[in-house]
Amino acid sequence: MNKKTLTLLFASAALTAAAGLPALSALHDAASGDTAAPLSAFAGSDDQQRPTMLAEDDHEDEGGGVSRAGSDDEEGECGDDDGNCGPAAAAPAPAGSVPPPQNGLFDNSTAPKVQVK
Protein backbone atom coordinates (compact mmCIF):
# COMPACT_ATOMS: atom_id res chain seq x y z
CA MET A 1 0.00 0.00 0.00
CA ASN A 2 1.57 3.21 -1.11
CA LYS A 3 1.39 6.64 0.46
CA LYS A 4 -1.28 7.86 -1.99
CA THR A 5 -3.70 5.07 -1.05
CA LEU A 6 -3.20 5.77 2.64
CA THR A 7 -3.98 9.45 2.09
CA LEU A 8 -7.19 8.58 0.21
CA LEU A 9 -8.29 6.17 2.93
CA PHE A 10 -7.62 8.76 5.62
CA ALA A 11 -9.54 11.44 3.70
CA SER A 12 -12.61 9.25 3.12
CA ALA A 13 -12.65 8.20 6.79
CA ALA A 14 -12.51 11.84 7.87
CA LEU A 15 -15.37 12.75 5.48
CA THR A 16 -17.52 9.88 6.76
CA ALA A 17 -16.95 10.94 10.34
CA ALA A 18 -17.78 14.58 9.53
CA ALA A 19 -21.07 13.64 7.87
CA GLY A 20 -22.04 10.83 10.20
CA LEU A 21 -21.53 12.34 13.65
CA PRO A 22 -24.22 15.08 13.39
CA ALA A 23 -26.71 12.57 11.99
CA LEU A 24 -25.96 10.19 14.81
CA SER A 25 -26.40 13.00 17.30
CA ALA A 26 -29.81 13.91 15.82
CA LEU A 27 -30.94 10.32 16.00
CA HIS A 28 -29.90 10.18 19.62
CA ASP A 29 -31.86 13.34 20.45
CA ALA A 30 -34.97 12.07 18.70
CA ALA A 31 -34.77 8.79 20.58
CA SER A 32 -34.56 10.66 23.86
CA GLY A 33 -37.79 12.56 23.10
CA ASP A 34 -36.37 15.91 22.01
CA THR A 35 -38.12 15.89 18.66
CA ALA A 36 -37.75 19.63 18.20
CA ALA A 37 -33.99 19.33 17.77
CA PRO A 38 -34.01 18.99 13.96
CA LEU A 39 -36.26 22.07 13.68
CA SER A 40 -33.71 24.18 15.46
CA ALA A 41 -31.72 24.42 12.27
CA PHE A 42 -34.66 26.33 10.70
CA ALA A 43 -36.22 28.19 13.57
CA GLY A 44 -33.42 28.75 16.02
CA SER A 45 -32.77 26.88 19.22
CA ASP A 46 -35.13 29.01 21.30
CA ASP A 47 -38.68 27.66 21.66
CA GLN A 48 -40.09 31.17 21.28
CA GLN A 49 -38.76 31.40 17.75
CA ARG A 50 -40.44 28.31 16.37
CA PRO A 51 -43.13 28.99 13.80
CA THR A 52 -46.68 28.37 14.92
CA MET A 53 -48.46 25.99 12.62
CA LEU A 54 -52.22 26.25 12.42
CA ALA A 55 -54.29 23.61 10.72
CA GLU A 56 -57.72 25.02 11.35
CA ASP A 57 -58.51 27.80 8.93
CA ASP A 58 -59.46 26.05 5.78
CA HIS A 59 -63.19 26.57 5.82
CA GLU A 60 -65.18 29.56 4.71
CA ASP A 61 -67.70 31.65 6.56
CA GLU A 62 -71.24 30.54 5.95
CA GLY A 63 -74.53 32.29 6.21
CA GLY A 64 -73.23 35.52 7.63
CA GLY A 65 -72.01 33.86 10.79
CA VAL A 66 -68.68 33.77 12.52
CA SER A 67 -66.33 31.01 11.51
CA ARG A 68 -64.31 29.52 14.37
CA ALA A 69 -65.47 32.10 16.87
CA GLY A 70 -64.09 31.79 20.32
CA SER A 71 -62.38 28.45 20.22
CA ASP A 72 -58.92 29.85 20.74
CA ASP A 73 -59.08 33.47 21.65
CA GLU A 74 -55.48 33.90 22.59
CA GLU A 75 -53.96 33.14 19.22
CA GLY A 76 -52.34 35.76 17.06
CA GLU A 77 -53.59 36.80 13.67
CA CYS A 78 -50.71 35.76 11.47
CA GLY A 79 -52.41 32.48 10.65
CA ASP A 80 -55.10 34.30 8.68
CA ASP A 81 -55.87 33.00 5.24
CA ASP A 82 -55.09 36.37 3.75
CA GLY A 83 -51.69 36.40 5.40
CA ASN A 84 -52.34 39.80 6.90
CA CYS A 85 -49.99 40.18 9.83
CA GLY A 86 -49.71 43.96 9.80
CA PRO A 87 -50.53 46.33 12.65
CA ALA A 88 -54.18 46.60 11.57
CA ALA A 89 -54.64 42.88 12.20
CA ALA A 90 -53.02 42.88 15.63
CA ALA A 91 -55.18 41.36 18.32
CA PRO A 92 -56.45 43.85 20.92
CA ALA A 93 -54.75 43.93 24.30
CA PRO A 94 -56.77 41.98 26.85
CA ALA A 95 -58.21 43.66 29.92
CA GLY A 96 -55.67 44.17 32.66
CA SER A 97 -52.67 44.22 30.32
CA VAL A 98 -53.06 47.89 29.38
CA PRO A 99 -55.24 50.73 30.69
CA PRO A 100 -58.68 51.05 29.07
CA PRO A 101 -58.97 53.63 26.29
CA GLN A 102 -59.77 57.22 27.20
CA ASN A 103 -63.09 57.31 25.39
CA GLY A 104 -64.87 59.47 27.97
CA LEU A 105 -67.29 56.73 28.95
CA PHE A 106 -65.58 55.49 32.06
CA ASP A 107 -62.95 56.30 34.62
CA ASN A 108 -60.02 54.44 33.16
CA SER A 109 -57.93 54.60 36.32
CA THR A 110 -59.65 51.40 37.43
CA ALA A 111 -59.25 48.21 35.44
CA PRO A 112 -62.52 46.59 34.41
CA LYS A 113 -63.53 43.42 36.20
CA VAL A 114 -64.95 40.60 34.15
CA GLN A 115 -66.23 37.13 34.83
CA VAL A 116 -68.08 34.53 32.82
CA LYS A 117 -70.41 32.37 34.87
Binding site: D61, E62, G63, G64, G65, V66, S67, R68, A69, G70, S71, D72, D73, E74, E75, E77, D80, A89, A90, A91, P92, A93, P94, A95, G96, S97, V98, P99, P100, P101, N103, G104, L105, F106, D107, N108, S109, T110, A111, P112, K113, V114, Q115, V116, K117
Partner: protein, 157 residues
Amino acid sequence: MMKSLLAALALTTALSLPTAAMARPVTLSAKLKDYGGNNAYLALYVTDKNNNYAGTLWLAGSRTRYFEHLAGWYNATGGDTSQINGITGASVGSGRTLEVTLDLKDALFDQGYTLHIDAAAENMRDSPNDVVAPLTAAGAGTPVKGRRYISSFHYSM
Protein backbone atom coordinates in the same frame (compact mmCIF):
# COMPACT_ATOMS: atom_id res chain seq x y z
CA MET B 1 -54.38 78.92 62.71
CA MET B 2 -57.47 76.77 63.40
CA LYS B 3 -59.55 78.88 61.06
CA SER B 4 -57.19 78.44 58.13
CA LEU B 5 -56.97 74.71 58.79
CA LEU B 6 -60.75 74.41 58.69
CA ALA B 7 -60.89 76.42 55.50
CA ALA B 8 -58.31 74.16 53.86
CA LEU B 9 -60.22 71.09 55.00
CA ALA B 10 -63.47 72.44 53.58
CA LEU B 11 -61.78 73.27 50.32
CA THR B 12 -60.23 69.83 49.84
CA THR B 13 -63.54 68.17 50.72
CA ALA B 14 -65.39 70.35 48.23
CA LEU B 15 -62.83 69.54 45.55
CA SER B 16 -62.88 65.80 46.14
CA LEU B 17 -66.65 65.33 46.23
CA PRO B 18 -67.33 66.07 42.55
CA THR B 19 -64.51 63.71 41.56
CA ALA B 20 -66.02 60.91 43.61
CA ALA B 21 -69.43 61.54 42.11
CA MET B 22 -68.24 61.65 38.47
CA ALA B 23 -68.08 57.89 37.99
CA ARG B 24 -69.50 54.85 39.72
CA PRO B 25 -69.06 51.09 39.37
CA VAL B 26 -71.67 49.68 37.03
CA THR B 27 -72.01 45.96 36.34
CA LEU B 28 -73.24 44.96 32.90
CA SER B 29 -74.67 41.45 32.87
CA ALA B 30 -75.66 39.53 29.74
CA LYS B 31 -77.02 35.99 29.98
CA LEU B 32 -76.80 34.01 26.78
CA LYS B 33 -79.44 31.58 25.56
CA ASP B 34 -78.65 27.89 25.14
CA TYR B 35 -78.36 28.35 21.39
CA GLY B 36 -76.20 25.24 21.08
CA GLY B 37 -73.38 26.73 19.03
CA ASN B 38 -69.82 27.72 19.74
CA ASN B 39 -68.81 30.71 21.83
CA ALA B 40 -70.35 34.04 20.92
CA TYR B 41 -68.54 37.29 20.21
CA LEU B 42 -70.20 40.26 21.89
CA ALA B 43 -69.60 43.98 21.41
CA LEU B 44 -71.01 46.32 24.05
CA TYR B 45 -70.97 49.92 22.88
CA VAL B 46 -72.77 53.20 23.42
CA THR B 47 -74.45 55.68 21.11
CA ASP B 48 -75.47 59.21 22.02
CA LYS B 49 -78.89 60.85 21.73
CA ASN B 50 -78.29 61.45 18.01
CA ASN B 51 -77.50 57.75 17.52
CA ASN B 52 -73.84 58.52 16.91
CA TYR B 53 -71.27 56.05 18.18
CA ALA B 54 -69.84 57.28 21.49
CA GLY B 55 -67.47 54.47 22.45
CA THR B 56 -67.03 50.84 23.37
CA LEU B 57 -67.48 49.42 26.85
CA TRP B 58 -66.43 45.81 26.25
CA LEU B 59 -65.68 43.36 23.48
CA ALA B 60 -65.83 39.62 24.19
CA GLY B 61 -63.63 37.77 21.70
CA SER B 62 -60.20 38.73 20.49
CA ARG B 63 -59.69 37.45 16.94
CA THR B 64 -59.94 40.49 14.73
CA ARG B 65 -60.98 38.58 11.64
CA TYR B 66 -64.38 37.94 13.24
CA PHE B 67 -65.05 41.50 14.34
CA GLU B 68 -66.82 42.35 11.10
CA HIS B 69 -69.62 40.03 12.18
CA LEU B 70 -70.39 42.48 14.97
CA ALA B 71 -71.85 44.67 12.27
CA GLY B 72 -73.10 47.70 14.18
CA TRP B 73 -69.90 48.04 16.17
CA TYR B 74 -67.72 47.33 13.14
CA ASN B 75 -69.49 49.88 10.98
CA ALA B 76 -68.98 52.50 13.66
CA THR B 77 -65.33 51.74 14.39
CA GLY B 78 -63.94 50.06 11.28
CA GLY B 79 -62.70 47.36 13.63
CA ASP B 80 -60.14 49.73 15.17
CA THR B 81 -58.52 47.70 17.93
CA SER B 82 -57.10 50.79 19.64
CA GLN B 83 -60.64 51.44 20.82
CA ILE B 84 -60.83 48.13 22.66
CA ASN B 85 -57.33 47.71 24.08
CA GLY B 86 -57.75 46.93 27.77
CA ILE B 87 -61.48 46.24 27.48
CA THR B 88 -61.37 42.88 25.72
CA GLY B 89 -61.80 39.36 27.03
CA ALA B 90 -62.71 35.88 25.94
CA SER B 91 -65.81 35.06 23.94
CA VAL B 92 -68.80 33.72 25.85
CA GLY B 93 -70.20 30.19 25.74
CA SER B 94 -73.76 29.20 25.03
CA GLY B 95 -75.92 29.46 28.15
CA ARG B 96 -73.31 31.37 30.13
CA THR B 97 -73.40 34.86 31.64
CA LEU B 98 -70.93 37.66 30.98
CA GLU B 99 -70.49 40.14 33.82
CA VAL B 100 -68.35 43.24 33.33
CA THR B 101 -67.88 45.90 35.98
CA LEU B 102 -66.64 49.33 34.90
CA ASP B 103 -66.50 52.74 36.53
CA LEU B 104 -68.96 54.45 34.21
CA LYS B 105 -69.27 58.23 34.09
CA ASP B 106 -72.44 59.58 35.66
CA ALA B 107 -72.92 61.71 32.57
CA LEU B 108 -73.84 58.57 30.63
CA PHE B 109 -77.10 58.20 32.49
CA ASP B 110 -80.30 60.09 31.75
CA GLN B 111 -78.59 61.98 28.94
CA GLY B 112 -79.97 60.05 25.96
CA TYR B 113 -77.19 57.47 25.72
CA THR B 114 -78.08 53.94 24.60
CA LEU B 115 -76.17 50.72 25.16
CA HIS B 116 -76.06 48.26 22.25
CA ILE B 117 -74.86 44.66 22.19
CA ASP B 118 -73.98 43.06 18.86
CA ALA B 119 -73.59 39.29 18.93
CA ALA B 120 -72.30 36.61 16.54
CA ALA B 121 -71.45 32.91 16.77
CA GLU B 122 -69.73 30.46 14.47
CA ASN B 123 -71.75 29.41 11.45
CA MET B 124 -74.85 31.08 12.82
CA ARG B 125 -76.54 34.31 11.88
CA ASP B 126 -75.08 37.60 13.04
CA SER B 127 -77.18 39.62 15.42
CA PRO B 128 -76.45 43.34 15.48
CA ASN B 129 -78.42 45.15 18.18
CA ASP B 130 -79.23 41.90 19.95
CA VAL B 131 -79.81 44.17 22.94
CA VAL B 132 -80.67 47.88 22.88
CA ALA B 133 -80.99 49.46 26.32
CA PRO B 134 -81.31 53.18 27.09
CA LEU B 135 -78.98 54.14 29.94
CA THR B 136 -81.05 55.66 32.71
CA ALA B 137 -80.70 55.59 36.47
CA ALA B 138 -84.25 54.27 36.74
CA GLY B 139 -83.48 51.46 34.29
CA ALA B 140 -80.82 49.91 36.53
CA GLY B 141 -81.76 46.37 37.48
CA THR B 142 -84.49 46.12 34.86
CA PRO B 143 -84.00 43.11 32.57
CA VAL B 144 -83.97 43.74 28.82
CA LYS B 145 -84.76 40.83 26.53
CA GLY B 146 -82.30 40.02 23.73
CA ARG B 147 -83.23 39.16 20.15
CA ARG B 148 -81.21 36.08 19.20
CA TYR B 149 -78.28 35.02 21.38
CA ILE B 150 -78.88 36.98 24.57
CA SER B 151 -81.60 35.78 26.86
CA SER B 152 -81.57 38.87 29.08
CA PHE B 153 -79.41 41.85 29.92
CA HIS B 154 -79.39 44.24 32.83
CA TYR B 155 -77.07 46.73 34.44
CA SER B 156 -76.76 47.45 38.14
CA MET B 157 -75.10 50.27 40.06
